[in-house]
Symmetry: C2
Subunit: 392 residues, 2 copies
């Protein structure tokens, strides 16, 4: 039987064919007018995609590179930062803060939950150089409330920088970056923008630029001031991942094209798309008898699903792969074996959700031995789609 | 919302990405050792794909070009041929026979039905130079019984050539080309072999080669003897569609790769794949309340579905396209508006069938106003898959 390769991982996500072809065609040198034209176009598109008037920079690195860049450029050894964490990626902020000799105050919440705002308010102090958090905690499929954190910052510590890992949040959640005062928000190429890993992008506020002037931490490859200067000339400081940048341009063109060429509306449609597919997937899986790992604040980027007590989520991962060529994500760290994760961010459509749930019914019934009435997960998703399709 | 482009037409069919990339990479000249190596490999693969020891040739044309080639090379003006027809493609044989000044005896059966073997037996005479038929009548989604026709030929008119349009039959039906004595069988690139239109291929028996020596009809571009001579040197008589040939090689590699590199087993798996998906699709559509246009001899290549009296199949075609970016085929000729057609040949998998049926439930309920319980078509397909998946 034919089994098409179908990624449902929250990065890498399925590639947009038009971006693949643009990447294949990108046989150009990076110190030429041809590249400068592409690069400047992509930077301008990214501003719209992020929804900001701040500078946007591209780095040839993974998203973690941009997380490092934000700390290396904004902080000095000994600076206090507040880390809000409820998962593996929150913990990455702590690791980075330690690596750059900061003094992280870590406010941890259980995996599967979001932040308690009263506790955040109590922990936040004006002496914090920055608040570090995720918009979406990919490891637990939780959406954090960036707007609420931004308001607490304004209230309690208005000079503290707000640094947001939006790697799976961008393209799946609506942000008012400038209105809320997000100083840095970070995205990655292998997420909602439908291309392979290798690029990170971030927006940088004027306050963040000012903070860099006194920041003492070491940076060279990730020196954002140098990148800003180069970007003004349509260039990158170091050799960029040219093909990925060309692919990113094609993907942003596609996202705009979904809304008649209007990238802002295209971004909103992409977010709605992820949200509807996430809602339909959750409804289908709950109808199948699965419990959600993060029921109270579910992300639109990815859904985390618990397997029944005594079962191994690795069996679901394996069955989806061997029987249907579907690649889901297992749990990470201590969640491995307990949950599996299914993505909705980027190049997924409703029929991908239907196909996934059809396969999940087979796995639930034939692999896990759960009682399944054929079509029951699909039906729950169709119910969601029938109600929401009119608004998207 | 994202809506992925999804072809469900019985040609062109969905492209295999590996073939797309091979086509993009095929920047070679056709009178070089590089091309000869590809061409000879593809011809050898096509023999296995057709399942014959006869010569196999490739033509840079559509399948109709190879239909013309078979008549132009095998017949002389005034020759009598028996055309078996039950649809638009059967009628094409009649048109071709007239264009080449043959005397076609046309045995017609109603659209949606296959041939009555007793009538074929009564009509067939040793004076017929050839029997012309389709293995699958794509316009009606009917499978004809080539083996039975071959046996009648052996019995009644053993010298009559058997010329089979297998354009949608190859890769969806098991043939014993040499055992049954099929003199010519024709395939097209945009069908089960997963690449774009532009190539036809055909196998030619020794009896057919012998017949060409006395055939008087004019041929130049489609002169098969010239192609055979060129092929022996690893070349084509005229400029070939190089990229398509490279893509075809990649597709045949993929089909072999689905069975551990064994193309014969890969071909069988591909046929089983189409048959299971066709059966699951039929079950789903019948469960939704639709009637099949060809219930008695349904093809695995494509399914033809009637819309209820008073409705227009064009509305289904339009709704699938606008709401789900699914491209089905409308009926052709007098069947337009009455039926729509959904393909299974080539690069389709079970999850494509689930997705299609999920979309059809929305169209049936929301566009046609039929009573639909969400999941009912999907459930019927899952039932089929659960029973058959063990054997494929």
């Amino acid at each position: 039987m034919i089994r098409k390769a179908r990624l449902y991982t929250p990065g890498p996500t399925p590639l947009l064919p038009a971006a693949q072809f643009a990447m294949a065609a990108a046989d150009i040198h990076h110190r030429t007018p041809e590249f400068r034209a592409i690069f400047q176009k992509v930077l301008a598109q990214l501003k719209v995609f992020i929804g900001t008037k701040n500078d946007v920079l591209l780095l040839s690195s993974s998203g973690t590179g941009a997380m490092e860049a934000s700390l290396a450029n904004l902080t000095s050894p000994g600076d206090k930062v507040l880390v809000l964490t409820a998962g593996k990626f929150g913990e990455r902020w702590t690791g980075l803060a330690k690596a750059f000799n900061l003094e992280p105050e870590v406010l941890s919440f259980p995996y599967g939950e979001t932040f308690d705002l009263a506790q955040v308010k109590a922990a936040l102090k004006p002496e914090h150089k920055a608040i570090l958090l995720q918009a979406t905690e990919t490891s637990t499929a939780v959406r954090h409330d960036v707007e609420a954190i931004a308001k607490l910052r304004d209230e309690v510590a208005p000079k503290t920088l707000l640094v947001v890992d939006g790697i799976t949040g961008l393209g799946t959640t609506h942000f008012d970056v400038d209105g809320w005062g997000i100083d840095v928000i970070i995205g990655g190429s292998q997420k909602a923008v439908m291309i392979p890993p290798g690029l990170a992008y971030l927006s940088v506020s004027e306050r963040a630029w000012a903070a860099m002037e006194t920041a003492k931490n070491p940076r060279y490859y990730f020196d954002l001031r140098k990148e800003r200067k180069s970007a003004a000339k349509g260039e990158t400081a170091y050799t960029p991942a040219v093909a990925l940048i060309a692919g990113l341009g094609a993907a942003l063109d596609y996202i705009a094209g979904q809304a008649g060429g209007d990238l802002e509306r295209g971004r909103i449609a992409l977010i709605d798309n992820a949200q509807v597919n996430a809602e339909a997937t959750r409804a289908g899986l709950v109808a199948l008898g699965f419990a959600l790992f993060a029921p109270t604040a579910p992300a639109a980027a990815v859904t985390a699903v618990k397997v029944p007590e005594g079962m191994d989520s690795g069996d679901v991962v394996k069955a989806l792969k061997t029987r249907f060529s579907i690649v889901p994500a297992n749990g990470q760290g201590e969640m491995k074996g307990k949950i599996f994760r299914l993505a909705h961010l980027g190049f997924f459509d409703y029929l991908d959700t239907i196909a996934l749930l059809g396969a999940m019914e087979h796995v639930a019934k034939e692999t896990l031995g759960l009682p399944v009435q054929w079509g029951q997960a699909v039906a729950a998703a169709q119910e969601v789609f029938a109600k929401t399709a009119s608004r998207v």
